[in-house]
């Protein structure tokens, strides 16, 4: 009912906004000669698109200045240190994100509250809670949060507009666009928790946009740029390369191999070159408190060694290994020898082998292979809540293609996801509301609260996490059964 927009359309304010938006759109098209962001088949729906954009932006504007997690403050601190001191603080997050956000922050510097900027630049060491969390209590924090999240808004709205182009049927594109704009997971991750994953997701959607148009080199390039921010999108590259290989009917194997290799190189070169460029930036010596137990608070240098979450590591690789191996289920084949079978690479290999047996890897099939991989990932790995944003465009595509089937799965993931976030303790619960309720910084985590009232907090939340895994894996099986196996058999 909400999707139809009929209630909204009758609202006088909506009509007023819509009229203005239409006039602005006409003006831009006539006078400024800006390329059309809206697919031609949706030309008649411009007013609806603009109206939903206004609604989406308004929801985001409301949340941007009032909530943020500690990760947002850390990302801001590292970006501001880069801007103000020209030094890069090592972290498990890739440097590219701090450079990109740093560019925006450089522009915003005159508008940031000076008190917060001074605090961010001060050499105070806070253990174990990073001092940036206490910045959430400072005067002017709402201005800081609003401006700090504007880069996310830009990539978010561009993602929404790109989603319009992922469907041949304009109505489906419009439906997906609306879901994206009011998707609670998209909104919460970027504007409530303040995570930057939307930037990587934008490049994933951009890659899908190019893939839909069979522009394989651009697809690989977009995936690579996305992987600079979050490595996950690189997992799509081998399937894209395989699709390209299968789409070529060149008689010469050498030519086919060369062409496919060039696609792979397009996907790897930026990923290899750009971090190398960042490595020449002077590093900031963030001193780790070695008295803390290994865990989320233990980051930085002790002596000459860099630690990420208490483990000595190279900053660039720590994120990659956490994503692929450290958080995955693993089977140890022998107690005496360190021989492991990691579940996530295992699933990926199975899916890739499955894809090699496909006669033709269409755009829809590639998306579904990647969706199944990510669903398996969320089912069998510890994942940071913000990582659930990666699958949202793919889930929306499934939902739009087959609303009857996937609506219930999609809706089920919403409450289960938000219950799963409670595992993160205060970081994604009480700290998040600190800007509007400063006392919340002292409140216990939801798990501690449940424990205090005599309920087994961790177990209760783990039960819902188990349900989330079940929904994800059921959805993965459903896709495999109805999109891969059955159709292939039918064709035979």
């Amino acid at each position: 009912m909400l999707m139809s927009g009929c209630c909204i359309k009758n609202c006088p304010l909506a009509i007023w906004i819509s009229d203005h938006m239409m006039a602005i759109k006409n003006f831009i098209q006539i006078h400024l000669n800006v390329p059309n962001f809206i697919p031609s088949q949706l030309a008649s729906q411009t007013d609806t698109i603009l109206l939903w954009t206004v609604i989406g932006v308004s929801i985001r504007f409301l949340l941007m200045p009032i909530m943020a997690g500690s990760d947002f403050m850390t990302t801001s601190w590292i970006s501001l240190t880069l801007v103000q001191k020209n030094q890069l603080i090592f972290s498990s997050d890739p440097p590219a994100i701090f450079f990109l956000i740093g560019i925006f922050y450089k522009l915003f510097l005159p508008f940031f509250p000076p008190g917060i900027l001074n605090l961010m630049a001060s050499p105070i060491g806070f253990s174990p809670t990073p001092f940036q969390v206490f910045v959430l209590l400072e005067p002017g924090i709402h201005t800081f949060l609003f401006l700090g999240k504007l880069p996310f808004l830009l990539f978010d709205i561009l993602s929404a507009l790109l989603i319009l182009h992922l469907f041949s049927d304009g109505k489906k594109g419009l439906f997906a666009f609306k879901i994206w704009l009011i998707n609670p997971i998209v909104i919460a991750i970027s504007y409530v928790y303040g995570q930057y994953d939307i930037i990587a997701v934008f490049f994933l959607i951009l890659a899908l946009y190019f893939l839909k148009r069979n522009k394989y080199s651009w697809t690989a390039f977009s995936l690579s740029i996305g992987a600079i921010f979050k490595i996950f999108s690189l997992a799509l590259l081998p399937i894209v390369a395989l699709s390209y290989w299968k789409s070529q009917d060149k008689p010469s194997m050498t030519l086919k191999t060369l062409k496919t290799s060039s696609i792979i190189m397009c996907g790897l070169l930026p990923l290899l070159l750009i971090p190398t460029l960042f490595s020449v930036v002077p590093q900031y010596y963030e001193s780790a408190n070695f008295a803390l137990p290994p865990g989320i608070f233990f980051n930085g240098f002790f002596g000459k060694t860099f630690y990420s979450q208490g483990v000595a590591t190279e900053p660039f690789y720590s994120g990659l290994f956490s994503f692929l191996l450290n958080f995955s289920y693993a089977f140890q084949t022998s107690l005496s020898i360190s021989d492991f079978v990691y579940f996530i690479p295992f699933i990926y290999a199975l899916l890739f082998l499955g894809a090699t047996y496909e006669r033709h890897l269409s755009f829809e099939k590639i998306c579904k292979y990647f969706t199944v991989f990510l669903l398996a990932y969320y089912s069998f790995s510890l994942f940071y809540p913000q990582w659930f944003l990666w699958i949202q465009p793919l889930l929306i595509m499934l939902l739009v293609e087959n609303p009857r089937t996937y609506k219930k799965f999609f809706v089920l993931t919403l409450p289960l996801f938000f219950l799963y976030t409670l595992q993160s303790g205060t970081v994604l619960s009480t700290i998040v509301i600190t800007p509007i309720v400063p006392q919340a910084l002292l409140w216990p985590s939801p798990i501690a609260f449940l424990n205090n009232v005599g309920l087994p907090g961790s177990q209760l939340i783990s039960i819902f996490r188990t349900f989330l895994s079940a929904v994800c894996i059921f959805m993965a099986f459903y896709i495999i059964k109805h999109s891969f196996w059955i159709k292939e058999k039918a064709k035979k």
């Binding site: 060491g125 209590l137 008295a291 002790f302 002596g303």
Partner: protein, 188 residues
Amino acid sequence: MKALNRSLTRNILFCILLLVILPISYVTLLNNLVYHPGLRLSAEWEDNAFLDWKTNKNAPIIGGISNEGGPLKINMEGARNGGEIVAAQKTQNIPADLASNDYIKVSIMASSIAVASRVVIWTDFEHPHEVLVKTYNDSAWHQEIVLLSFFELSGNISMIELSMKQLEASDVNEWVLYKELSFGNLDF
């Protein structure tokens, strides 16, 4: 032409209202409505003079403590192995208990990355609890605030220790300076 200009002006005004004036008004309203006192530290106990601190060493090494008109200096000299410690310890006139103090604050400067600065709280004379062990790569003052609640310590404080630890074998003279030691509570 006039009609077009009127329409254009109206729409530009609408854009400014939606994208600039409304967000600025909303953020300004929030900044004024929600009280943000910022984080304040209220010290319950302070030591800026470091007068009655005693030396302790865990090995027969050359080193000691001295008071240089304020900051407490701890130094090590001669050939020594990694892991060796020279400490300054205080048992008299110290904060009574841990429960009434949220944090410990101290400023530290170290001669090099080869030595770690340590802050240890002894709840009795057999149980040392390290709350801070850090290295610094510059000769600048670093203010450190450690939230004691994280370490789940309880009871009385028997001794406070400020020390330096050699990380690897060396014969280079090294030192660590401490100043402005305090215990207190967070207020916001």
